[in-house]
Amino acid sequence: MNVEDSPMDPGLCGENAAPYVLGALTEEEHEAFCGHLDSCAVCREEVAALQVVASVLPAIAPQRSAPGQLKRNVMASVREDARREEELGHHMTAATRTRTRFARRSQLAWPSWRPLLAAGALATVVAVVAIAIASGGGGASTRVIRAEATPRGADASLHVSDGRAQLDVSGMPQTPPQRVYEVWVKRSGAPQPTDALFTVTAHGDATVGVPGSVRGVKVIMVTSEPLGGSKAPTTSPVIIARL
């Protein structure tokens, strides 16, 4: 039988393993499949077998030299981070936890989530303003959502366009040593971690892309977490954007 003419039964395990390792699942499928991997040894084995091939595909991209300015930009930020940590005389501790993931989003279950709006968590002005801004004739529009931010003087806005979001913050306090800001997305249930970890400039500014699609996301939030991020929020949110 020609397998090409006989697509796999959608109910069979493993059918999403190949598009998963190639990054070709839709956001919704990706989330569902990551959850499925938690409990399915067959699919984990299939993913492991195919992942080794996907991981060598970058080798066939035409090789280029990275621009020198790129290194200067990256290392300037890295050294600024390192210098700040050094100046404050702290060293990374074992408190930083390693999070294992299959890919962009966690495949792990999230054990608990404290109520988002714990009493006193946010002593800030809440202003949720959605403004539709024409994008300049391209047909897509950008929705700007002003987020709740703390402390006073801090400001955060979420720019949503075509299912993608970017968070702009200003006036935020710098994170303590060994800590970073972590972006979370919440659809239903517990908030999910993202790979978006960031620090702010000396002026408290930062711009960070929210990984993945935000379709179906109800809340995007930011917490202060140990360097390396956390599996579940360990502090109250300092930024909350309601979509």
Binding site: A18, G23, V56, L57, A66, L70, R83, G229
Partner: protein, 204 residues
């Protein structure tokens, strides 16, 4: 005295770190050594930029992806788990995911930007070391394994991995059922694995 954990590392510290393996460097990176991270950057930035450029086909976007990826790597360095693969695999995996996000984040207006792939002369890194030579030979093997696949299988793999397209988009573009697209992806990857022996043994 040489101290890799000092932000400046001391004179010539980066050069001394270059003799260390990636995994050894990551132990220093974990402890906030910017010098060790610089060595990691130097080793993998060309591959990262090459992948990003192949996917984005725009120099500026590729640069954004690589910069964002390396800063993410630095700030999430505690997440590196050597049990899940090499540092290079970790780096390129993050670049791939970031490039997919960038491609899918582009607005309709952005998509009107002319790709500059092909407009600029490719600047291939010179073969400087035996490792470079080995990598290029392996790249030829991987390319050959992909080219040996039936066209419909290699096409869906390239559209997905390098084009950042979902299987649904590919199915629509090729006017083919999604199940067939998934099957082609799986068959193609499985055949490549057989052709390449044990890809985990590669120096990539």
């Amino acid at each position: 005295m040489f101290n890799p954990l000092r932000p400046d590392g001391g004179s010539g510290s980066t050069e001394r770190l270059r003799v260390l393996a990636d995994e050894e460097l990551m132990q220093l990176v974990y402890r906030s050594s910017a010098d060790a991270f610089e060595v990691i950057y130097d080793r993998h930035a060309d591959a990262a930029f090459s992948l990003a450029y192949r996917m984005c086909a725009q120099r500026a976007l590729a640069e954004d992806v690589v910069q964002e990826s390396f800063l993410s790597l630095w700030r999430s360095r505690a997440r590196y788990d050597r049990g899940r693969g090499s540092v290079r695999t970790w780096v390129l995996g993050i670049v791939h995911n970031r490039a997919i996000d960038a491609l899918r984040r582009r607005t309709v207006r952005d998509k009107g930007i002319v790709n500059d792939e092909g407009l600029e002369e490719r600047v291939a890194a010179p073969e400087r070391t035996e490792l470079d030579v080995a990598r290029r030979e392996e790249a030829r093997e991987i390319r050959h394994a992909l080219d040996e696949l039936p066209g419909e299988q290699s096409k869906v793999i390239e559209l997905a991995y390098f084009g950042g397209m979902t299987h649904v988009q590919i199915a629509s573009m090729l006017d083919t059922p999604v199940g067939t697209i998934k099957g082609r992806m799986r068959l193609g990857l499985a055949k490549m694995r057989m052709a390449l022996g044990d890809p985990t043994e590669m120096v990539q």
